[in-house]
Symmetry: C2
Subunit: 497 residues, 2 copies
């Protein structure tokens, strides 16, 4: 096979002299999206081959707690068992508010319509879900509960357009090993049902014919590149590009001063590059998930977040990604939490944070932190005056989190992105992963910039631009929910050419 | 020639049966970048053919006032004549601050080193430049001066890292017809020196050989598609993509709620799509120029910009694109200018603006505008207290613009992006154009994602990602300066294969 430096990611199908092997459906990447696609393609009758770069499957899903953001259709089995009623319309209203102009209305609709049934599918794999919920402000359960609020449902402005209901579904297992539990169950089923899986097999190029149809891939196994034929289709489920610093700089340079990558080592953007080379369009490439985890513990939410001007800029009861989204948009990308003694505890997800100032008066804190004289004092005076009445006229933090900051001592904790360190980030900065990729139909079919379907080519998971589109509207569970849900659709579609 | 829906933007050179014509260098697009490239390629000895989609040349440069952001090297001829000394290091320091992580250090360096000589080139075309400057806060001269401040040079934080000097160079002509004057002079020279120009000729695809070299283009003339051979290279100078609403939605969906396109009708992204199809990488696609033109008149700068929380968010003496950049990042994308009677006049560049509130006290204004009770009052009290001492501890607005807002009546003018209308915008919103495109070397050579040069392919102007990279660091004159400067480099490089 002939490769050149200019178009290394795609080769002419017509030039292939010999195929190493053949399958109906070839899947590049064995994480949540790829495994879900494999199972559905197999169940639709296809002969399926999964190629995985690493020595074993799992991808970013296995690294996660495997939350899935699910609801609608009257409620999932867990929601219903707990007496919670969710409607598809309510879920659509919420998701539409989450992503605004970045959202994909068709994916939102199909996801909301199918999410409750998707839960049944996940449970049918043998993944344990307990009919128990926690209702406190958290990101993951602390015990073995399987349902919680994981986004902005109870926060302004989302609580004005949709009825809050918990939709974060987590495998019931202490220690947040949900991703491993889920992927083990899913991969066991995939392999039991006859899917062929080849690990240590890096896909390096697509094979495309002169009419534009994708008909296979080139894979490197034991140092040798060989051609694999796909008679029905190729599914790209090779993750996002957060571990490819060049791609991050090209498409989201703005994050470089304040974010640190979080993902699977394989999130190098190969799948996206192959899709582009085959004629695929990319969308939403500049958007990333970000995290500013002031909580848990939830009680820190009683504090107020301020910028370098000592001003508030967002309701502090928003989800951690929304907090980060607005934090980094502040002119100096500095952000601090002012908290009084009775609410203070270290943030659970962040390594030891710098205390920028302490004091028995706000003036003392302000002076020690070198905030502009009088700025924090004015902010607190205004906040306290209204908090006493259970109101936040500026940002509409919910009444349960409103109380005057009047019980000294006070502390001002730095959550400045250049200073913080997360255990899972490589460097200082807010942890992030990418939310852009190949443009696809909900069936996973990859589109050109002109809107044509590339025959034989599919994408799912973070190789595609899926359900979650911005940090400002993200909720825990949206990525795994999206990857597995639309991974399944792609598998079905690819199998039934 | 065989075209398919999947890869319409590039065809196999090997499949061409007959060429309509041939040239050493083929240039797609006859705006500022294309015309500059054509002249230099011709002067380097190449036979040059320019293909222009419209019925005549000019592009977005002809629509502009043709400001060019120039300086360094001790000063341009205009700067020197006025006794102003500029250094290359000072210009590099300024431009580096402008674009931060989005900037291209190598382009910044070469541009700063060559900008003064570039002025001499522009003047040598016969374009009139008067050795006169205006020093007031403006975007274009009101008279026939040829030099002015056009960016954030005198504003925080730029004034802390570089010595302010005016660098906006404009052809001397009343009425801001600079772009027409310049393009007429440039195109006359291009054609006098023997460049062939074909108007009404839309390039629809590149011709690329199997080794990856670009060797021509397909052009539609009088309804017929024909192949044109380029023995040395093809230069894509077909503008940006601001007029392609699908591409804007794909790469910069965030702007949809608040921006309105401003550009040449040909800014449809064709050049970028052709470059991608040939293997080219894109960078910076989500960044746009934006305008929030509170000034001129300059005296409105004495007012304060506030958001929906009645809080300031930026120093009001910043350039109009920087004001817009921060305005749209506010949580509710609402922004108002509070101004007292003696400073009030309508903004020159915006159609009649809504007055959100008026009154003899700030409390009255705040109530009429339905800002949160007490919010604007607290902001003004804080601002006034420090302005009296010539200080702005929050945002460091320069002392010349600081005076207390204490002379009623007051007005709060809405510059909310959803409400404003610019004469040149299609709809309500801040006018914008795109700042992303093909990744190029300073020589215009287009790069792949892997960093390889695509032989025979060049890009310049807004088809490439050039000097200006963000609204937050933009200055008037950076686009035309970039397009003509790097257009010339691309022309030279393409001619000397």
């Amino acid at each position: 096979m002939r490769k050149n430096d200019i178009k290394p990611w795609v080769l002419r199908y017509e030039d292939v002299e010999e195929f190493y092997c053949s399958a109906d459906v070839v899947i590049c990447g064995y994480g949540g999206a790829g495994a879900s696609a494999a199972l559905e393609a197999r169940r639709a009758g296809a002969d399926v081959l999964v190629l995985e770069r690493a020595s074993g499957g799992g991808g970013a899903t296995a690294m996660s707690s495997c939350e899935m953001y699910l609801g609608g259709s009257g409620g999932t089995a867990v929601q219903k068992a707990l007496g919670l009623e969710d409607s598809t319309e309510n879920m659509i209203a919420y998701l539409s508010e989450c992503f605004g102009p970045n959202g994909d209305a068709e994916k939102i609709r199909l996801y909301a319509q199918g999410a409750a049934a998707h839960f049944d599918w996940a449970e049918s794999l043998g993944v344990p879900y307990k009919r128990e919920a926690i209702y406190e402000r958290a990101v993951e359960p602390f015990g073995d509960e399987s349902l919680l609020f994981t986004g902005n449902e109870r926060a302004y402005p989302f609580n004005r357009v949709a009825t809050p209901i918990p939709r974060g579904h987590v495998p019931s297992r202490e220690g947040n090993q949900g991703g491993k539990v889920f992927m083990q169950a899913l991969m066991a089923r995939v392999e039991a049902e006859g899917v062929r899986v080849q690990a240590d097999a890096r896909v390096t190029a697509l094979l495309q014919d002169d009419a534009g149809r994708v008909r296979g891939a080139v894979v490197k196994i034991e140092g040798r590149e060989c051609a694999v034929e796909a008679t029905r289709g190729v599914i790209l489920s090779a993750g996002g590009f957060v571990m490819n610093s060049d791609m991050v700089a090209d498409h989201a340079a703005h994050v470089l001063p304040y974010a640190t990558p979080y993902g699977s080592p394989g999130d190098l953007g190969d799948g996206i590059q192959m899709g582009i080379a085959a004629g695929g369009n990319t969308v939403n490439m500049s958007e990333v998930f970000l995290s500013l985890a002031i909580y848990p513990p939830a009680k820190l939410t009683h504090g107020i977040l301020v910028n370098a001007q000592g001003q508030r800029f967002i309701n502090e009861d928003a989800y951690l990604a929304r907090l980060a989204h607005y934090a980094v948009q502040q002119e100096r990308q500095e952000v601090y939490l002012l908290v009084q003694n009775e609410d203070y505890e270290p943030s659970l997800y962040m390594e030891r944070l710098r205390i920028a100032g302490t004091g028995d008066t706000i003036a003392e804190v302000e002076a020690e932190a070198q905030l502009p004289e009088g700025s924090l004092q004015a902010t607190v005076a205004y906040f306290n005056r209204h908090a006493q009445q259970g109101e936040d006229p500026l940002f509409h933090k919910a009444p349960e989190w409103l109380k005057p900051l009047d019980k000294p001592p006070f502390a001002l904790v730095s959550y400045c992105p250049r200073e913080v360190k997360y255990p899972m980030g490589n460097e200082r900065g807010y942890v992030m992963f990418t939310l852009g990729g190949l443009e696809t139909l909900p069936t996973g079919e990859v589109l050109t910039a002109g809107g044509a379907v590339i025959p034989g080519l599919y994408a799912a998971g973070r190789t595609s631009a899926g359900l979650p589109r911005t940090a400002s509207g993200y909720a825990s569970g949206m990525s795994v929910g999206d990857a597995t849900f639309f991974g399944r659709l792609a598998g079905k579609q690819a199998a039934t050419r």
